[in-house]
Amino acid sequence: MSTTAPITKANLANLVARLVAGGARVVAPVRKTDGLRYREVTDGAEIVLEPRGLPDMSLKAVVFPPTEPLTSYERKGRDVALTAPPLIFQPTVVLGSRPCDAAGLEILDRVMNWDLRDELWFGRRRATTIVSLACAGPADRSCFCTAVGLAPDATRGSDALLVPVNGGFVLEAVTDAGEALVKGNHDLFGVPAQADAEVRQQARQAVAANLSLDPPAVQAWLSAHFEDPLWDPIALRCHGCGACASVCPTCHCFDVVDEPEDLAHGTRRRNWDTCQAAKFTLHASGHNPRADQNVRFRQRVMHKFEIYPERFGQVLCTGCGRCSRTCPGGQDLPEILAAIQARVGGAA
């Protein structure tokens, strides 16, 4: 895949109009009173393509909604009839995803196809084409994608990548779907061009200055230090609120609940959940194997940098830094990772 085509901002808006007219849901960053958010758009003029603008919440809700029905049930006498929602998903095009958010979805494909293939996840994944916007550098000091194997212009999980150039963008197709998007709308694109490689290199270096990590070494340290003085005071300032998990592109744990609508009908839903909540591991007996926040916070670090890599060969973190930005208690994942890296020696 190597199609690169320049597109002006005006034609990007035309592309949105065309996609919407064709029945697609277009999702893009927009600026509202509550900040920069990924939202469904129908007018290309609403889209905010800032080369360092990171939406406050990740893209995961597009593929993994905060709540969704798994099945509805109806009691009929002594029987119960179950109806699963149809596996039909509206074609969706994301314009201006951050590369870290697109990568997050690709990272999650592993666990979603592990012991059970999650058809809701993959149905939406298949229906979604992701056009990412390369970052011009870190959004701020909390970005560290380069420390976890990604980059401000990473294409992992993206079908195409927009790279800002004078007057518009170069669109680089990455996958067949990205190629099809460029070919199917060729009248909106100009003659092939190349984005400035040096600018992209500078963006990478600027992010790398925030944090340097050796993820396999961090994994090895974590594997050998489930018990360590590091963990005892780790989460004193942590409220256990789970805001980090909500904004995280890779946190994917969910709760399953049954919600009756009346005596005969109800819905089984799955809802976002978080290992930072005490209830997450509370047993029916009243025992809680993760009894306090220090232990729960260790779990968050372990899952991302030890358990997931061990199982899937991949860190469960894209370095977007949202957890640090959103934390009301000032917990800072890059700071904690740097402290672990310092214990292993080497980078950081």
């Binding site: 709540t67 004193l236 789970g242 805001a243 976002w272 208690g329 000032g330 700071e335």
Partner: protein
């Protein structure tokens, strides 16, 4: 600042407390810190970025904090009102904690700063706060400060909402609450949400749907606002913590106004003054019982 550090050093040094919960400069501005050694007292700072309500660390739901032993907590006047709430409701004994009061001239909206206070930066809640000194505190440190610049965006927002017809107010809240993902950050940062088992977590029966659909979200946030009516110190931490950017404090302020109008009660920092919740008075207005 030296006064604060010297006091912390002394309290830790003579064994009065095991840890001082205060503010430090973190990677992204001011954040809470737990100082356990006298020699680390110089980490402590206080400036208008000290937004967080540290009384939440006295919430009994935090066994890992409780294990540290007796705490000293740095409190602003608004934070002291939350401490008074915990004392009033028997969640804390007065001799269990040392309250280090700091004279406060208002805080900014974000701990990331800037540290300069002006009408643009000041936290909305400071506009209605007339208290510069936390009278509940055991010690009071810091220079005398003038009242904060008045910025009343939260009050203005409420006045605007008040002026709208019911249907529009409903639409406003539906649009806000639709974004809630039920992470519970609002509850977890709240110093006064101390129930060991929240009504929202009860599943037999399920009083409140835990799903983040607007029906469940509405039930949750209204229930929380009612549970905090006459208790909330309007510190605004719920609004600040919300990753969806929902102005939750507006609900709490509205409840506070209702409590003030109905019961003549305003949350203060005297734990000896009984709150309407938990008080039976024969002269309470009850014309709604017919």
């Amino acid at each position: 600042m030296n006064e604060l550090r010297d006091l912390a050093r002394r309290l830790l040094g003579d064994g009065t407390v095991k840890a001082v919960v205060g503010y430090e400069e973190g990677p992204r501005g001011v954040r809470p810190v737990f100082v356990t050694r006298p020699e680390d007292a110089d980490q402590l700072i206080f400036d208008p970025r000290a937004v967080q309500n540290l009384v939440t660390f006295l919430n009994p739901r935090r066994p890992h904090v409780k294990r540290l032993g007796k705490l000293a907590v740095v409190v602003k006047a608004c934070d002291a009102r939350a401490a008074a709430g915990l004392l009033r409701e028997s969640q804390l004994r007065r001799d269990e904690v040392v309250l280090i009061g700091v004279r406060c001239g208002g805080v900014v909206q974000s701990p990331e700063g800037p540290a300069t206070l002006n009408e643009e930066t000041v936290a909305p809640r400071c506009g209605t706060c007339a208290q510069r000194v936390p009278t509940l505190a055991d010690h009071v440190v810091g220079p005398e400060l003038p009242a904060p610049p008045v910025q009343s965006s939260e009050d203005e927002m409420m006045a605007r909402l008040d002026g709208r017809p019911h249907a529009e107010r409903w639409d406003f809240w539906m649009a806000e609450l639709e974004r809630c993902v039920r992470c519970n950050a609002c509850r977890e940062v709240c110093p006064l949400c101390f129930c060991e088992r929240c009504v929202q977590d009860k599943s037999e029966p399920q009083w409140i749907e835990s799903s983040p659909h607007v029906r469940g979200n509405l039930a949750w946030h209204l229930t929380r606002a009612l549970h905090l009516a006459g208790r909330c110190s309007t510190c605004g931490e719920c609004t600040r913590a919300c990753p969806a950017g929902i102005p939750l404090n507006l609900l709490n302020r509205q409840a506070a106004r209702t409590v003030a109008a109905r019961f003549g009660y305003v949350v203060g920092d005297d734990p000896g003054v009984a709150a309407p919740v938990g008080t039976f008075r024969q002269d309470d207005a009850e014309e709604f019982i017919r």
